[in-house]
Amino acid sequence: MADEDEELSHLRGPEPADIDLSDETQDFLFLDKLSSDANGALSLPKRGTKDFESHETQLQLDTLEASRQAMHGVLSWTRVHTEKNRILAMYHPESNMAYVDKVKTQHFLTMGRAKGGKEWLLPEEVLFLLERGSLDCRWPPKPSEEEKDSDYKFTMEDGAPMSLQGAYAAFIGFEAGVGGKLTLEMYNVYAGLKRSGYNVYRTGSWDDDRAALQLPATGSKKGGNAKPGYWTRFFAEIWRRISSVGVNTQVPTENLRFGPLVKPGLYRSYADIYRLLQIIPTQDRGAPPTFMLESDPSNPFRVHFDVYKTGGSFKKSNRGPPDFRIAVINARESSVPTAAQLNDLLVTTPHDPPKATDNLYKKLKHGQRNVVLAVVDNGVPSYIRVAEAAFSEEKLYERTGRAPRGKGGGRGRGRGRGRGR
């Protein structure tokens, strides 16, 4: 019975988007090639076939050994911390953040914010830098009574160094603000995306119970569906009137009650019939977005991070609209969102309609608003993109037939034209 999928795998390879390199065991030979190619022209090697069992040839053993050597070669690389790049930070218990006096290294191109002459780092940023070994965070020194009296000015160097355990204990879940506590899941997602090369920032301030509504930008509608020209509309109207002579265009109440919706009679086109069938209410897309649930700080669905692709002239002070919005969810403490929860999450994301020139499937898949859910199950995140699809706006029956002009005036005349010529 599995014919259709079998057929598919025969015709098409897996879509590139579905191949996840992290799903597979790394072949470290590719690292070897990366480092050996020192000309600056780095290219990812092609993946070969995989051997699943030993067949006792020397060739296979040699290949395996070479791969192992490559891994050891990578791991045996000596990592060096230069004094120049050492960053000292001081923990600030009141705000549960840390600050740096002097900004060094490129990390601060995408992290931290300046305030009062210091560079402040958010908990996830401190943790990330600590994990990388690029930051030395210190506990604030506690001067004894005598030391307080003396004129000695404490520097960061006097604070006790913060251990990694201490940092996790201090930075995870100890923040003020109702909706704003950093959880281990959020840090997991943050660190994972950072390591994959994205720039990640908190969405908003995380202090309020829920983010603000995002109303569609005025004027965006005009770009979405271009109106046909005046003459086209004129002819379309005339055509509509002519072709509806003697044709049912409305379902009488009696038929709505006991059927059939399409009562026997004269119909000019299938589009007319489909229009009669449309009785199931859908989400009204013309109406402004609203919240469906009460504001509740325990609602787990909330956009946490703005994610930016790297490249180009990115500035942390002027970031612009993010490429992706990520909501972090603990898989063990929540379930698949209900329609109301999804609605409330999506109305806090901006209206992002597909391009009018895209094909039907692409348009439907892109949706009107979208968000990426990062579902973290015991530290393993899986990302799911959710989009609100506008099926009732892309009417398939207006495209079918061999209508030479897809949209606007030509409604219903596609079939007629196909005959006799």
Binding site: L277, A331, F391, R419
Partner: protein, 480 residues
């Protein structure tokens, strides 16, 4: 311990073959064996399935602004249509409800063809989807040379299997050769002729062992070939007497799912479901289908419901239902339709996508509720897999704490559920869509009396659908 010895000669032949300069010839051999059959010409699906619904339309001639003659043609058509209205006799297909299979059966061959061709309704009871049993049967007996899709699939599978066997053989030989090469190198190195000879024979036996293990599972290429050639040739067909041809009785019927059947009856009026020669009204069908979408189904469900239906009919006709002949009418087990009845919300979604022009078919093969085809399965693969999630966001469902708890339990779906479905859909190249159906407060009160005759339009309009597309997002792929 017998078989390695008995196979030894055969093996030595193979090794001899391998001694030649043969990597190139091997590859050529595979190419030649690789099946390159030309597929039979496809029927003209665009013409067969030119009607998307089992309803006739009467389009006007085309209007071409720069061709005045076209206006004349339209005028002629309009006038002729108004003077002699075109015969718009709706073809109504007959069917009956089967309590055993919980589906609606169509047995008339003309109806079966029409329902399949005009909108892809139903499934052949003896075929994969399209009712082609008779064609298959005729072909088996050599009457028709046309191939059915089942046969094409079977053939393709056999071809693919043979290709895989062939590929496995080539790989095996390549490994064997590599091994021999390495051994001869070591042998040359150690200069021990005798030793290397022994080694070769040992490897030979181990290889034959491997072959023996595979053999029972996968038939040899020759036997696959035999299977392929099995369909009878034309000469056989010519020898067949005519009586045999006529003797084949079409034993296949078309099975309509409850949603399909209700759509055909209620929305299009193209299907009549009968019981004892009487056509059942739409509201009765709705009650019947809803009752058969619950689990478990009581044994007397259909009987009781029909009794109530007859009682109501007499009542409406003014016959006193307390008379003697109603004594046998027992309908105590008939219950009202709950607003979240599976049939009801599945039908809502079915109707919604049909009314937008999609061809909706069951998605049970892919672990979802529905598949959405553009134009139909004969033209393209389904692009969307639809999973329905009922949602209780109407204020009625959160009025009391008990109700809240109950609805929460019904709405609950864990993340593993979503991942499972999502992974399967990605594997078969479908896009997963969750369709949330907003369940209204209960509407079926007083179902044994006045409101037995449901107001269908009102009920359908009290539900609401919302579509969300779910897809995997891989950080490694979106960075660029």
């Amino acid at each position: 311990m017998e078989h390695p010895i008995s196979i030894q000669p055969a093996r030595s032949e193979v090794t001899q073959e391998n001694n030649g300069p043969d990597t190139a010839t091997d590859a050529m051999e595979v190419d030649a064996v690789k099946p390159r059959t030309t597929r039979p010409k496809r029927p003209n699906y665009a013409q067969i399935h030119s009607k998307p619904l089992p309803i006739e339309t009467h389009p006007l001639p085309a209007f071409i602004p720069h061709n005045p003659l076209s206006i004349v043609r339209i005028a002629i058509a309009l006038i002729s249509h108004s003077v002699w209205p075109p015969q718009v006799k709706r073809i109504v297909h007959k069917a009956y409800f089967s309590t055993e299979t919980h589906s609606v059966h169509v047995t008339d061959p003309a109806s079966i063809r029409a329902l399949w061709e005009q909108g892809f309704f139903g499934t052949g009871s003896l075929s994969r989807t399209e009712p082609r049993w008779l064609d298959q049967e005729k072909r088996k007996r050599g009457i028709v040379a046309m191939q059915t899709s089942e046969e094409v699939t079977r053939q393709r599978r056999a071809e693919r299997r043979q290709f895989k066997l062939e590929r496995a053989r080539v790989e095996r030989e390549a490994i064997e050769q590599q091994r021999l090469l390495e051994e001869s190198q070591t042998a040359a190195h150690q200069d021990l002729d005798k030793f290397s000879f022994q080694n070769v024979s040992v490897h030979g036996t181990s290889e034959t062992n491997g072959l023996r293990e595979i053999d029972p599972l996968e038939p040899s290429p020759q036997s696959v070939q035999a299977v392929l050639e099995d369909p009878p040739s034309d000469s056989k067909a010519q020898g067949l007497p005519d009586e045999v041809v006529t003797r084949i009785v079409d034993q296949e019927h078309l099975q309509l799912s409850l949603e399909e059947a209700f759509f055909l009856s209620f929305s299009l009026g193209a299907l009549e479901v009968c019981k004892d020669q009487t056509t059942l009204p739409v509201y009765y069908l709705f009650r019947l289908y809803s009752a058969f979408s619950k689990f478990p189904i009581a044994e007397n469900t259909e009987r009781h419901l029909h009794n109530l239906f007859r009682y109501r009919q007499w009542h409406n006709a003014g016959i006193n239902p307390t008379g003697d002949f109603t004594g046998s009418l027992e309908f105590s087990d008939v219950s009202s339709i709950t607003p979240d009845n599976t049939f009801v919300y599945k039908y809502i979604v079915y109707h919604h996508f049909r009314s937008l022009g999609w061809i909706v078919r069951t998605g049970v093969k892919f672990g979802v509720d529905y598949l959405l085809y553009n134009r139909g399965p004969a033209f393209s693969h389904a692009e969307f897999g639809v999973m329905i999630v009922p949602t209780y966001s109407s204020p009625y469902w959160s009025e009391t704490p008990e109700r809240q708890v109950e609805c929460k339990a019904k709405e609950h779906r864990d993340w593993w559920w979503l991942h499972r479905i999502n992974r399967v859909q990605a594997q078969v190249h479908k896009t997963l869509m969750l369709v949330y159906v907003k369940i209204p407060p209960p509407w079926d009160f007083d179902h044994r009396n006045a409101s037995f005759e449901i107001n269908m339009g009102e009920v359908l309009k009290s539900y609401k659908v919302q579509e969300f597309i779910f897809s995997r997002w891989t950080p490694n792929r979106h960075r660029g």
